[in-house]
């Protein structure tokens, strides 16, 4: 479980987060949604400690990372897996070496155990016969999957995914979403996903937080979100007039 308490973050004069609080449970897919520029990535980066919030607190199962020493924070990081918006795969390493890197750096596994674990994770994300390829030779969807494999290789307790399915075709996007949900349930991870894809919301949104202009505008489940009838969130969900009409007609009938 991760709890964020009233986090604020400014870049110069620009107030990006104006006090956001929420609780994210384990074994669930927690979605942060919002328009482009609403502060989703900044929230995620504050949570993992890449940015330090100007105010507020972040607790990982009761352990506050803002008050933590540098070394304790490093220990928590070993329990975190993260998929970046741009995947951030290591260019100079092959697929296999990318996934293997955390094992090399942080475990004392034998060579055979590492190879097994790497292959297990790559299988888990349905990537076969790509072990020796380099990130430059992969498609967008494949890169995302390598990113997920690398994020889960150390069995993290906390998984962060920044727009795991942006730039993917709808079918592949659903495959990735389901993969993340399966992994979350299987390993009881606390998973937090940034997205602006309504398909993801309806597919895997166990909990949804809607950010608007740096504030938490709404939170609830994917079932509750369908009850929304107006306001910013309504505009966000039913972005096109076509959908809005469809929705109104559905309510009338």
């Amino acid at each position: 479980m991760i709890e964020i308490k009233n986090i604020r973050k400014n870049f110069g004069d620009h107030q990006v987060l104006k006090g956001v609080s929420s609780v994210f449970d384990d074994g669930k897919c927690n979605l942060i949604i919002g328009k482009s520029g609403s502060g989703k990535t900044v929230t995620l980066k504050c949570m993992v400690g890449l940015y330090s919030p100007d105010e507020g607190d972040i607790e990982y199962d009761g352990r506050s990372i803002t008050q933590m020493s540098f070394n304790d924070r490093k220990d928590i990081r070993r329990e975190i897996g993260m998929l970046f918006q741009g995947t951030a795969l290591f260019d100079s390493l092959s697929v296999e070496e990318n996934v293997r890197f955390p094992l090399d750096m942080f475990t004392n596994m034998t060579e055979a155990e590492k190879v097994d674990r790497v292959n297990f994770c790559l299988n888990r994300v349905n990537l076969v016969n790509t072990n020796k390829k380099y990130p430059g030779e992969l498609s967008g969807g494949m890169k995302k999957r390598v990113g997920i494999a690398r994020a889960i290789v150390l069995n993290p307790k906390y998984l962060f995914c920044d727009e795991p399915n942006s730039g993917l075709d709808p079918k592949t996007a659903i495959v990735i979403d389901h993969l993340i949900r399966e992994l979350t349930q299987e390993y009881k991870m606390t998973t937090i996903i940034n997205t602006h894809d309504m398909n993801s919301v309806m597919g895997i949104g166990d909990k949804v937080v809607f950010l608007h202009e740096g504030l938490k505008y709404w939170e609830g489940t994917k079932e509750e979100i369908m009850e929304i009838t107006d306001g910013e969130l309504f505009d966000f969900i039913f972005a096109s007039d076509f959908l809005k009409d469809l929705r109104r007609n559905a309510r009338v009938s």
Partner: protein, 247 residues
Amino acid sequence: MRNIFTGFGNYLILIRGTFARPEKAQMYWKEMFRQMHDIGIGSLSIIAIIATFIGAVTAVQFSYQLRSFSLVPMWWMGSIVRKSMILELAPTISALLLAGKVGSNIASELGSMRISEQIDAYEIMGVNTQGYLVGPKIMASLVVIPMLIILAVFLGIGGGMMAGILGKFFTPSEYIRGLQDNFAGYDVVVMLIKSFLFAFIISSISCYKGYTVSGGALEIGRASTQAVVISSIVIIVVNFITAFILL
């Protein structure tokens, strides 16, 4: 002016950060050998070509100038080429060359890792990125660049000999006599001190410039240009200061 001071402060902080205890020494060694290979093998041919020709040109020019004074014996040429290669030409010219090649390489590698969030990805895993990404590059430079400079000395002397013989300025035995004449071990010490200083300057400045890139891809190019310009200037100034102090 204030920017220069804050920049220098941040530079010192980055360098200090590289001395943290490695998560796993083996991985740091591996990275260091990879960097040694990149820097060393990657720069070998250009250093070899340049050093040979610099030695050759030195021999030709001094021979041309000294020939008009019949008092000066031509076997001095060996000694002149040796001394100028060791004290000045090999370390300084190689360093300037490497500032261009290795410096821009390091800065753009780290810069693109920064922009594409690879550095953040290491950070999230719990890797000390200053230690792992900057440390091995500096260590590798400290090992490999002095070796390249020593090689440059030998090739420069060889180049001088070839040019002198081709131009019939002196015979091989005269040149070799000059090489052996009045050899000062201290010159080599000065050369080594300069080599280590230059290696540190090139690698640390370009690491700093690359590591602290922010913004977009355009900034990577800017950072690597700055890395080259700043390290070249610092090399020239430090070269002068060491000459002043040590000679």
